[in-house]
């Protein structure tokens, strides 16, 4: 529609021959290609090529900087699926995902529900800015800060638990103990997700007309009842989108690297997720088996994509019926 009118108006302004109009559209196309060139170039190298190359590598026994590499078919995948570091790594990643998902959804949901009922516009926006602060901090520094918080001798956690509240007699070794390492990591995830998930859920809550609540209150419904029968059903799409986004937690590796030191191998075995194992194997083991590491990465990608599709499929029915939610 619009191109025709644009071209027509251009012709009105400068009544020339039709070849002139043709060259205008060619010119527009050329400018278009020139404008998208930088983005497409960056994308082409660091996404399209990078993805294709790594997929191709996963079918070879390529090792970084080694001259010879052969096509080995599915060997890497077969090996990876029998590698206990990979299999247990998936179990650990799933454990972390479940632990962090629950806390980083339920707590923010509670905060968002309360914050949504703050009608004072200025305070409401101040609250949002303050709650969002952890989200702007560099993720590795968040992990470092929590490493310090967990320090047995003068970390804040043990100070509060032992010296202040006297809940514990002596401070546990949060990051060293195999049982505590993963929950400690997940607790950090709760904290760092609190603000950003609250804001995300609030975007969904903002889309629910307040009149619905008023009407229910007039009818004598309790706040709990309102949340359960009105808010949560209408928030459904937002929650589904969030759950699908959180599947990426399965690939957790950055906070592990940041908390336990970049590749010192000081991390206890209990937090060696498959992605962390792939990173250590690919970049820090002497042989640097890029083919094998790629295969692990692609198995992980396949699992995450499959999970996303399953979640999408599970909640397919009412999707079309309920519009709204966060505009994401």
């Amino acid at each position: 529609v619009t191109v025709g009118s644009l071209r027509g108006s251009a012709r009105l302004a400068q009544p020339r021959t039709s070849s002139r109009a043709l060259s205008a559209s060619v010119q527009e196309a050329l400018i278009g290609y020139a404008f998208v060139a930088p983005v497409v170039l960056i994308f082409g190298v660091f996404y399209a090529y990078a993805i294709a190359r790594s997929l191709a590598l996963s079918f070879t026994n390529f090792k970084f900087l080694s001259p010879s590499s052969q096509f080995v078919g599915l060997d890497n995948y077969v090996t990876a699926l029998q590698d206990h570091w990979v299999l247990e790594g998936f179990a650990k990643a799933a454990y972390f995902t479940v632990l962090s998902f629950l806390g980083s959804l339920l707590l923010p949901l509670l905060v968002a529900l309360v914050l949504d009922r703050v009608s004072h516009p200025r305070l409401s926006s101040i609250y949002r800015v303050l709650l969002f602060l952890p989200a702007i901090m560099p993720a590795p520094l968040i992990a470092r800060l929590w490493r310090w918080m967990y320090l047995p001798s003068f970390g804040l956690i043990n100070y509060v638990l032992v010296d202040w509240l006297h809940i514990l007699d002596s401070g546990p070794l949060w990051l060293v103990s195999p049982e505590l390492a993963m929950p400690s990591l997940a607790f950090m995830a709760w904290w760092s997700a609190l603000g950003i998930v609250t804001i995300f859920l609030l975007a969904g809550l903002d889309g629910i007309p307040k009149e619905l609540y008023e009407a229910a209150r007039i009818d004598g419904a309790s706040e709990l009842r309102i949340v359960w029968s009105i808010t949560l059903p209408l928030l459904r799409n937002t929650l589904i989108v969030w759950s699908i986004l959180r599947i990426e937690t399965l690939a957790v590796v950055e906070p592990i690297l940041a908390m336990w030191g970049g590749g010192g191998g000081s991390a206890p075995y209990s937090i060696w997720t498959w992605a962390y194992y792939a990173w250590e194997t690919g970049f820090k083991s002497g042989r640097m088996p890029f083919g094998y590491a790629s295969a692990i990465g692609w198995i992980g990608a396949g699992v995450m994509i499959a999970l996303a599709l399953v979640v999408r499929w599970l909640f397919r029915e009412r999707d079309r019926a309920t519009e709204g939610g966060a505009a994401v």
């Binding site: 998208v36 190298v45 320090l151 990465g297 992980g300 990608a301």
Partner: protein
């Protein structure tokens, strides 16, 4: 029992206090001497207040300040390039007609849904090594250009789509060239979106970790990476209190950018920057 309005605010303030407590703690660490920190019994507030840690950070030639400069250089190069290229691309995908446009755009957007950070990292490592840029700042900047570029492009395209077409048409009738229209009319109108991208891109670049920790070992360390390589907080030049000062320094740029540009983020969202 119905939580009244007072209860609501109290609850929110408690949550905010818990969220901000670690930051307060680390700021307090940076203004107390290490000898005070290790003194028993432990205290939350410093018994002795000092700025000595900040002096130590700058005077004793601890490399952390150099890493701060590295971070700043990387961001100063990457952010303008990304904003510039996504403005151009966003405009073209929103307004210009050229064969293959929509196919290309959706190809780009699909990549947002692929959880392939690790496979990408493998190839990027190989590329940067082939280019001889291992452990150099350009070796970080180049892959950083790709961080989030698709989502920024998506944002800019949405922003340009929302600008009324009539403005453009009117200028074209007045004889402005296509490029002139872009530069003098569209770009100023898209400024809030560009500021939003600037903010997001800076925060991402400043805090990037996976590429940086993989691609740099000593010369090109950025501040966040350098800080995560410290293995002991209890000895040498990098005791916890000195590290805390570096931490505070590292937090300042993102904080300033966020407080300065947050309103554009809101404006951008209101303009439908993230609408699918």
């Amino acid at each position: 029992v119905k939580p009244g309005r007072f209860g609501r605010h109290t609850f929110i303030w408690i949550v905010i206090a818990l969220v901000l407590l670690p930051f307060v703690w680390v700021i307090l660490l940076s203004v107390r001497p290490y000898s005070d920190l290790v003194l028993l019994p432990p205290t939350f507030l410093p018994r002795v207040w000092t700025l000595g840690n900040y002096q130590a950070l700058f005077n004793k030639d601890i490399a952390l300040t150099q890493y701060f400069v590295n971070s700043a250089i990387v961001s100063a190069v990457v952010v303008p390039l990304v904003v510039f290229s996504t403005c151009l691309g966003g405009y073209a995908f929103a307004r210009l007609r050229f064969p293959g446009r929509d196919l290309l755009f959706w190809l780009l957007v699909i990549s947002l849904f692929l959880p392939v950070a690790f496979p990408r990292l493998i190839t990027v490592y190989e590329l940067v090594s082939d280019w001889g840029l291992m452990d150099t700042l350009p070796g970080l900047m180049l892959p950083y250009l790709s961080l989030g570029i698709v989502i920024y492009l998506f944002i800019m395209r949405n922003i340009f789509i929302e600008i009324p077409k009539e403005l453009e048409d009117a200028a074209r009738i007045d004889g402005a060239t296509l490029f002139g229209v872009f530069r003098r009319i569209m770009l100023p109108l898209a400024a809030p979106g560009a500021m939003m991208v600037t903010m997001l891109c800076f925060l991402t670049t400043w805090g990037e970790y996976l590429f940086a920790v993989t691609l740099s070992t000593s010369n090109a360390l950025t501040l966040p990476v350098a800080m995560t390589l410290v293995t002991s907080e209890t000895q040498g030049d990098t005791v916890l209190t000195v590290l805390a000062t570096a931490y505070v320094l590292a937090m300042i740029p993102p904080l300033l950018v966020y407080l300065g540009l947050n309103r554009f983020f809101r404006a951008g969202l209101a303009q439908g920057a993230l609408k699918f």
